[in-house]
């Protein structure tokens, strides 16, 4: 493979990654809505407990922390993307 082709592939891969990051960023709020704003959440928040803590509390705070973590992972990449 010539160096020209490989650099083209690299660029293409970079562009792909950027697009994926943006798509992931778009998906995050949607994921939040799905996890927190649909009747589905009742499935996870039955009146049961895990380790003495009600599942509803576990679920809500767990999802919250998960969403924060995902945003934490994506934010720096988006910011880098913005610079280009």
């Amino acid at each position: 493979m010539s160096s020209e082709t490989s650099s083209f592939l690299e660029r293409d891969q970079q562009a792909q990654r950027k697009r994926k990051t943006r798509e992931a960023a778009a998906f995050l709020p949607i994921l939040g809505v799905i996890l927190l704003l649909t009747p589905m959440i009742s499935v996870f928040t039955q009146d049961t407990r895990t380790g003495g803590i009600p599942n509803a509390v576990f679920y809500v705070f767990g999802v919250w922390l998960l969403l924060i973590g995902l945003t934490f992972l994506i934010a720096p990449r988006l910011q880098q993307d913005d610079k280009d």
Partner: protein, 887 residues
């Protein structure tokens, strides 16, 4: 020390500390030091004005009453910040490029710098925020009294406490919020103080939480085992109210005037959003993590009937942890003060920019705006507004304090400001949204909000009577505020959200579809919706404004130094070494934007409009926005032009390459021709010299003949070499010319004398035009004669007529002398015309052994060196060569 005095001392020390921090930060920022003040951490912490005393105390109260519902108030903002890339980033970018000073400014600027819209939004914000400020005052006085309830000491009444708190807040806000008119409307001192308060809030709530979970109870499972089983309602958290609260809180994070102030206006670096996107939700997470445990502890440890809104303080107090309770008190104090300070700054900006200043401009319509000091007026208006807003909040507290009406006002206020949301979102994502639609949508939503939620919340005490609330106005049941058109939703908040936001959006969209935006709206809409796009600044059009007038106005608004600096820089950009810049389009645009940073878009527009007097939107502007894709088209047109240019260049390169290859080929041909031409005389010389060498008995006649041939051939060889040398010199421009003023006739005489023998040989009749030969030319006579000799001998050689004639005629035009050499032969065939000036070319018809074919190329080169030309002019009969010489 008595508890009350102790509290007052703590508060005073705390407030003095805040003053110091704010002062140092302000000074540091002005001097460019303390860069950490502009760090994403400070930005994130400043966002915590979202957490007011209402959330600090009230979240626990809400948890004690409604379980997990309070989380929705924090989850909404979390979702908005997770999607920062789509909404917040755009808002911040617009805020920076358009110099937005408040949410009212944003809406007004987007919809054609309409002051009507600005006033509507400002009034809504005041109506929505005043009760909120009252709520903060109530929380503070409640916490004061809770702390000192058991001391038995005679303490000032809550009203007095609230009064002094209000005064203190007003002083702080005026001091740091209106110290100067910053062009960017940023307040480093205030923001830093708020960031510190954010830390205090968080530490206080976390400390109480940790104390409750591990001090009062024995870890998380123990605290939850004490929970009232009814509290979480069997885990059924997904209810219409849950969805409504999420919606309200996510709109509030943008639309609340104080939130807009910290998120958009105070944002100094766009990338801070990237950090805040996860850090702010994390902060909210920390603020709510221990809310439920504190609520549970309050319910299980405190006597029945204790106010759940004060659990944060009363639980530590009941456990005799006075220090912790004091910290909690300080947390609540921080929450309340930071909210009031930022809200007052945001509202005062809106009031002074959108109400006071336009009013003043209208009152002074006749006068030039430059004749008064706008800055002083503006600062004074802001200070008065801050005082006024806090006074309003205080009176509101005085009237409704302690009632349920105040406690529930938090969410009601959220919904009030949320009415801006459709116009805001439509404004930044939809170019078709119009000013009329925004006004219609906002007023519809606002009216419905007031009717279905705000007014009834007073419980019959204000405008709407209890009978009207229960049975509808004039007993019309369909118009009951809590059941409009018979809509039966038990939760008043959900009912009001559905009606007001639903109708607001509907009216906004339909009106947009049926109205046409004004030109200035269209221009603004393009700049808002395509804020990331490229816009080429249009310039050139001059305004009627006098630069001096502009400078005076700019000094009044921006301050002397800033204005002068701006004018000098612009003048330099325009290429003027001194003096004032011309009022070009781009300069006026920049001025207006800078003014907008201080006084808001609508006012800036109006002020400049008064000076220029001309139409605010030029024909060019209108044309630029006429097509909504103008920007894109312009860009693609530029790309197309570039690619066309590239194609052209490539074509030229290809042509040049072709020419080079041709030249190379010509060179090869030339070399082979030269060798061929050299070879012919060489061959005869060799042959004859061999004969001379090898034959002993040669007749003297033969001997003479042979050596004569050798001699002739060597002469021919020499001439050929001379010619080649001559040509190559001439082509390189190395030939030395001996230019002098000479009579043209004498040159022609010389040429004819030289060619005399040729002419006589073929009995050629020579015609001359002696009258016209009397011209003096400035040239090299030898070289010109050479050309003429060549032309005449060519004519003599090739003329095929029965009675051959050669004529030489002269003439002069305005700038040149023409010399024609013509014969009456058959001329040169069309196919050969291009060939005659090439080296060693042999014409298809005639062939001459006497010529190497270099005559015409040399002649042409000579003429080129003499700055003239030699051309062949096709005529009806015979060949005509024309020499042009510059005069």
């Amino acid at each position: 020390m008595q508890p009350f005095n102790l509290l007052v001392t703590i508060c005073l020390i705390y407030v003095i500390g805040l003053f110091v921090i704010a002062y140092v930060a302000e000074k540091g920022a002005a001097e460019g030091r303390l860069t950490f003040l502009r760090s994403p951490v400070v930005y994130t912490l400043s966002l915590s004005v979202y957490c007011t005393a209402w959330t600090f105390y009230g979240a626990v109260g809400s948890a004690a009453r409604n379980g997990l519902e309070f989380v929705a108030i924090y989850l909404g903002p979390t979702l908005v910040f997770m999607g920062w890339w789509w909404l917040l980033r755009k808002l911040v970018r617009i805020g920076r490029t358009q110099r937005i000073t408040s949410i009212a400014d944003l809406i007004s600027s987007r919809y054609g710098k309409s002051n009507t819209l600005a006033v509507i939004v400002t009034l809504m914000a005041v109506i929505g925020t005043t009760p909120y400020i009252a709520l903060q005052l109530q929380s503070l006085t409640l916490s004061f009294s809770a702390f000192t309830a058991d001391s038995g000491q005679s303490i000032p009444s809550p009203a007095v406490t609230a009064f002094w708190v209000a005064v203190g807040l007003a002083v702080f806000t005026i001091f740091f919020g209106t110290r100067n008119l910053d062009a960017n409307e940023r307040h480093h001192g205030v923001v830093t103080a708020i960031a510190v308060e954010a830390v205090v809030k968080l530490v206080a709530l976390l400390s109480v939480g940790i104390f409750v979970v591990w001090g009062v109870a024995d870890g998380p499972s123990d605290i939850f085992s004490r929970m009232d089983p009814e509290l979480l309602k069997g885990g059924q958290i997904f209810t219409p109210r849950w969805v409504t609260l999420m919606f309200l809180s996510s709109t509030a994070i943008i639309c609340l005037p104080r939130m807009f102030q910290v998120v958009v206006v105070e944002n100094s670096v766009e990338k801070h959003l990237a950090t805040a996107s996860w850090a702010f939700p994390l902060y909210l997470f920390g603020m709510s993590l221990f809310v439920l445990p504190i609520a549970i502890a309050g319910q299980s440890e405190l006597p029945v009937g204790a106010n759940p809104d004060l659990y944060v303080m009363t639980v530590p107090l009941a456990k005799e942890q006075t220090g912790l309770a004091a910290l909690a008190f300080l947390g609540g104090f921080s929450s309340a003060t930071s909210m009031v300070i930022v809200a007052a700054i945001a509202l005062s900006t809106m009031m002074s920019n959108h109400i006071v200043l336009p009013l003043w401009l209208t009152l002074n319509r006749g006068r030039n705006p430059q004749s008064d000091d706008v800055r002083t007026l503006l600062l004074r208006a802001r200070r008065l507004s801050i005082g006024g807003i806090l006074a309003l909040g205080y009176f509101y507290y005085q009237i409704t304090g302690g009632t349920d009406a105040l406690a529930s006002i938090g969410l009601i206020a959220f919904l009030g400001v949320a009415q801006v949301m459709p116009a805001l979102l439509g404004g930044i994502f939809w170019q078709g949204a119009t000013r009329k639609a925004a006004i219609a949508g906002i007023t519809t939503g606002f009216a419905l909000w007031a009717y279905t939620l705000f007014l009834p919340s007073f419980g019959g005490a204000f405008i709407l009577s209890q009978t009207t609330i229960d049975h509808g106005p004039l007993g019309i049941a369909l118009l009951r505020p809590y059941g409009l058109l018979g809509l039966n939703i038990p939760d008043h908040l959900v009912h009001a959200v559905s009606w007001s936001i639903g109708m607001n959006t509907l009216v906004f969209i339909t009106t947009s579809l049926f109205t046409t935006p004004r030109p200035i709206e269209r221009r603004q809409s393009v700049q808002f919706v395509n804020v990331y796009g490229r816009f080429s600044p249009r310039s050139g059009r001059s305004h009627s404004a006098e630069p001096e007038e502009l400078l005076v106005l700019a000094q009044r608004i921006l301050g002397r130094n800033t204005a002068i600096k701006l004018f000098n820089e612009t003048a330099a950009e325009q290429g003027k070494s001194r003096g004032l810049p011309d009022p070009t389009d781009s300069f006026m645009e920049k001025l207006e934007r800078d003014f907008a940073g201080s006084v808001g878009a609508a006012t800036a527009h109006a002020m400049l409009g008064q000076i220029t007097g001309g139409p605010a939107v030029s024909v060019e502007d209108m044309m630029a926005v006429a097509d909504e894709t103008a920007g894109i088209m312009e860009y693609s047109a530029r790309l197309k032009a570039q690619s066309e240019e590239l194609t052209k260049t490539a074509q030229q390169l290809r042509k040049a390459n072709l020419q080079l290859m041709e030249l190379g080929e010509q060179k090869d041909t030339f070399l082979s021709q030269v060798s061929h031409e050299l070879r012919t005389p060489m061959t005869s010389i060799r042959a004859f010299s061999e004969i001379l060498r090898d034959s002993d008995q040669l007749e003297p006649d033969q001997l003479k003949h042979f050596s004569g041939v050798i001699h002739t051939e060597s002469i021919r060889l020499t001439r050929l070499l001379d010619d080649i040398l001559d040509l190559s010199f001439m082509e390189n421009g190395q030939v030395k010319l001996n230019i002098r003023r000479t009579d043209l006739g004498s040159i022609i005489d010389r040429a004819i004398t030289t060619t005399e023998t040729h002419l006589q040989e073929r009995k050629i009749l020579l015609k001359r035009d002696l009258d016209h030969e009397a011209i003096t030319v400035n040239t090299d006579p030898d070289r010109l004669a050479q050309v003429l000799i060549n032309l005449i001998s060519n004519a003599a050689k090739y003329c095929s007529a029965q009675k051959p004639e050669v004529s030489i005629s002269c003439g002069r035009s305005a700038s040149a002398v023409l010399i024609d050499v013509a014969d009456n032969g058959s001329g040169i065939e069309a196919a050969d015309i291009d060939l005659i000036f090439q080296k060693f070319s042999r014409l298809s018809g005639v062939f001459s052994a006497g010529s190497a074919g270099l005559g015409l190329p040399i002649s042409r080169e000579i003429m080129r060196n003499l700055k003239g030309t030699l051309t062949y002019v096709p005529t009806a009969k015979g060949a005509l060569f024309r020499i042009t010489l510059p005069l």
